[in-house]
Symmetry: C2
Subunit: 289 residues, 2 copies
Amino acid sequence: MNQAPGFYRYKIGDITLTALNDGFGKRPLEGFVRNAELADVKKAMAEAFLPQDALNITFTTLVIQHGGKLTLIDTGNGDSGAPTSGTWMANFKAAGFDPKDVSSVVFSHFHGDHINGFRLKDGTAVFPNAEVMVPAAEWAFWMDDAKMSAAPEGMKGAFAGVRRVFGPVAKDVKQFEAGKELLPGLTPIAAPGHTPGHTVFALTSGNGKLMIMSDTTNHPALFVRNPDWSAVFDMDGPQAAATRRKLLDMVSAERMQVAFYHAPFPATGFIAKDGNGFEMVPVQWSTAL
Amino acid sequence: MNQAPGFYRYKIGDITLTALNDGFGKRPLEGFVRNAELADVKKAMAEAFLPQDALNITFTTLVIQHGGKLTLIDTGNGDSGAPTSGTWMANFKAAGFDPKDVSSVVFSHFHGDHINGFRLKDGTAVFPNAEVMVPAAEWAFWMDDAKMSAAPEGMKGAFAGVRRVFGPVAKDVKQFEAGKELLPGLTPIAAPGHTPGHTVFALTSGNGKLMIMSDTTNHPALFVRNPDWSAVFDMDGPQAAATRRKLLDMVSAERMQVAFYHAPFPATGFIAKDGNGFEMVPVQWSTAL
């Protein structure tokens, strides 16, 4: 009793996007939001008709097809995540793609659920022909030995994970700055707070525009509804909240389509202002392209 | 460039449901809502981030698996609908089902998009081994020759369609009354207005409960948000609106999961009260069963 393969295609101008499901990780609610009472978090979950004991955080990467080239935004958990995750490669292949054909891999930031799919535990490079593009600010932070030494014990694993994934290709990695077009139609925008170099991306083609929101939220039911709440994964909570509010204000004012890494599959829709917060309106699933 | 097969499984207690996508039909907005100004309808579309020139009405049937038996609720457009519809059989097979294994086909009402999948244009019976269960009130209306003769010219085709589909099996059709359990856990509830015998179904298993809402709405963005609006497909507009409001009140008060025939795929979620209307909150797509 399987589900259908977890891929969903949509168009932005001439560009075809494919959202790829990488499963989910279950997270206890207790302690998950730093600056809200558990009762309020449970209330937000109930309002979204979600369970009140735990949060299933979903993972959805993007494939961008443009002029015959394949670009990935983030690479999922690979074989390093929760047992309920790691479905990415099966869905990527079910969508008709081959890892050898990926020409660019662009990373939004260096958390394990975004980078581990780039290199299996045994060291295998999954996308042998891809150039690797990373936010310069993210590289500077995570590859800094002094920062690693100074990090609390619980964060040292994340530093080690970044080195495991990127170490073998360190000299070939292309570091990019925000604000300059990186690939045709794709422009990174600095969105710090979640991590120091956390990046979102504006994708434009003709009249089409998509804001790839990366980890601006860990779940819309909590952090789009309550943009000032801060998840434990936000390294700088207040900065992440300020970034989140700024981005949500912008995409709601411009009625721009958005894609989140951590929204329910297919993880794309629109943002409406609602009271002091916002609401995510998923796209209408379409069989047409 | 295909989409993934359009099936989605979920559990209600011990019962596995499979939502099956049958594509969509495009409908001009002008004249579609009988008792609302076009400007207000366009505004509702804009609030849902949907196009303002036309409405894509989607079709989603349900397969119920219970104790090794396969029951269908409605059968899609078959080969009689819009060119963008009729994907049902491909999705049914992709989900691993065989039409020969269907033991019961239950109809909510007799509009073509619900019944035409039961018999192809060439007369082929698609589910040769299934018992056929229909609302007695619906049968009484559509099979009544006097009602057919008295019907306006534009409705005669619908009467003829019902006879085309059910004529060859008329003597074997099991007519059911609302309020009595029809199959294990499945109880029809009269929901007249959309058609005279329009029926919804309560499905229960253990603590799980699903309200199968049939055509209580033709699109949640219009008729869940504005339950007093009436689509041209509602044969008795005021009665359909009263039924709709009563059902939406009930499922929102009880926080019961719902499935609609005409909601964006996978067409299941929950209903929250919102002002004078309601809002549909889709389920979080899950890879787990």
